[in-house]
Amino acid sequence: MLRLLNLELQKLLLNRTSKILIFVSFILPFFVILLSSLKINVFGIFTLELGELGIFNFPIIWHLTTFFAAQFKFFFAIVVVSMIGNEYSNKTIKQNLIDGLSKKEFILSKFYTIVFFSLVSTVLIGLITLCIGLYYSSFTELGIIIQEIEFLFAYFIKLIGFFSLCLFFGMLIKRSAFALAFLFILFILEWIIFGLITWKANADIAERIQGFFPLKSMYKLIDQPFQRIAMTKFPDKSDLAYDYAVHWHEYGVVILWTALFVFLSYRLLKKRDL
């Protein structure tokens, strides 16, 4: 396993473009979260300190940071798609197989890399959240800190799921730019199907079915936190209440998609004449 990871890391880290993109995809969310936690003096008129709003309190901070950090996953998605696209355009995939890498190992080396970077990203976000939380939070009891830490795990699963989808599209289409376009098409397609079901049945059923679509199921792992922040401000408004928790079946759906995408990528490569 380490051999395969090592192999892929060499391919990625010696490429300047992917190195920059990896750097951006990890460092950018890190800094955005860090900056937002600072006290910002806006032209001396007033000071903006998001921490005062109570959003950096445990446990809500887990929800908030993972949700925002996940928006930066697109940078690494480009890396994933291009690490497949480059292998095809340089024909190095052919050479790798001739040199004695099996097709299974080839897919696994890509998948391990995805898991590795998702893990690094999760650990980084975990650390920064912990630091900001400990600094701002009014409660620092261990019980409260680790409450809702499952958002971190959801973040990890969400990244792996999304990047596996990119891996599959990369294998399917072989060209990075088109694969990214397909990602966008899938996004639109999911909404069109959602609209069709709403039209034919009703919004409630449509929403439930939508929860099983690949992109939506990944998105739903970490629901948007805005409503929840509003809830904390106006606790008496019960119509704001919604289900933001991470459920086991939501993990299940995403893990299933992940397994399917990795398996399909392998099948695709196995069937293909290079």
Binding site: R3, Q10, K11, R16, T92, D99, G100, S102, L274
Partner: protein
């Protein structure tokens, strides 16, 4: 003799087109094999199948008597297919390092092999900056990293300039001299004739011949003769059983042999009959003539 690669009734179809048809042959250790065939005769497809990049339609193949899986076997094989495929953003030695990781070979081999192909000074330049000849030499270095049991070369001199072709040939000869088994696919006949001991001839995916190069040129050769008394010579040749077809072209007579006969013996016999030759050349048919004869049928 140890068999390295065995093909049994291998077939590959691309839709309605049959690229390789019922192909069987065996590669034994220590020989230099050539796969000959015109463009599109299935050479590269055949190599692609045994190298795990093209899926076969039917039949099977075995590396090293089938004791190991294909991808494990390929770690003991060195192969170059058509064009050198490397990561353009990595340097020569970084690319080889990656191959070492795949094959499980220590990095110490890298400089040794780069020296063999004369790329040591350029090992830290990016692959993208290499000329085609250098790329091809890097590919050979990469194929040799694991000191392979068999080296597979598919059109190794394609697209190179004369110097490049010469360099690659010299390297191949050096490797062959060390006793490494080589499988060389080419449509360049003199290339095969110069380095190979065995040959497999393909046409439209079918095997036409497989065996030793010198047995393929199985005829006993022919004489080119010239003499002032042409008629006497002709009647002698026609009555002699050693000769088959006889062609007359201007003053030259070409006589094909049915059985071995050396020029000294022929000259002596003719002299006894009072026929004095002004021109006597004994030749064997070249591989090229033989190859064209084989592939031109039908």
């Amino acid at each position: 003799m140890d068999s390295i690669l065995k093909l049994n009734n291998l077939t590959k179809k691309f839709g309605y087109l049959t690229a390789v048809k019922d192909l069987s042959f065996t590669i034994n250790k220590g020989n230099v094999y050539g796969i000959l065939g015109p463009n599109g005769s299935g050479k590269s497809t055949t190599l692609g199948i045994v190298l795990n990049v093209v899926n076969k339609t039917s039949g099977d193949f075995q590396w090293f008597d089938g004791k190991v899986s294909t991808h494990e076997a390929l770690k003991k094989v060195g192969a170059i297919i058509e064009r050198p495929n490397f990561y353009p953003y990595m340097t020569g030695s970084q690319n080889l390092k990656l191959v070492c990781k795949i094959k499980g070979v220590p990095y110490t081999k890298i400089n040794k092999k780069l020296e063999l192909v004369g790329l040591l000074e350029r090992k830290d330049s990016k692959f993208a900056t290499y000329s085609l000849g250098m790329k091809q030499r890097l590919a050979i270095a990469s194929a040799l990293l694991n000191d392979p049991e068999i080296l597979i070369l598919d059109e190794p001199t394609n697209g190179l300039d004369p110097q490049g072709i010469h360099q690659i040939r010299e390297i191949i000869k050096q490797i062959a001299a060390k006793g490494t088994t080589i499988l060389l696919a080419s449509h360049l006949l003199d290339e095969v004739e110069k380095v190979c001991s065995h040959v497999v001839v393909l046409r439209k995916g079918e095997k036409l011949y497989s065996g030793r190069v010198d047995e393929m040129i199985s005829s006993h050769g022919f004489f080119q003769l010239k003499c002032n008394n042409q008629e006497a010579l002709l009647s002698f040749l026609k009555t002699n059983e050693a000769f088959g077809t006889i062609k007359v072209q201007d003053e030259f007579i070409t006589a094909f042999l049915n059985e071995p006969l050396n020029s000294e013996e022929l000259n002596r016999q003719l002299f006894k009959k009072g026929i004095v030759l002004t021109h006597l050349v004994q030749r064997k048919e070249s591989l090229e003539e033989q190859f064209l004869k084989l592939t031109d049928k039908n």
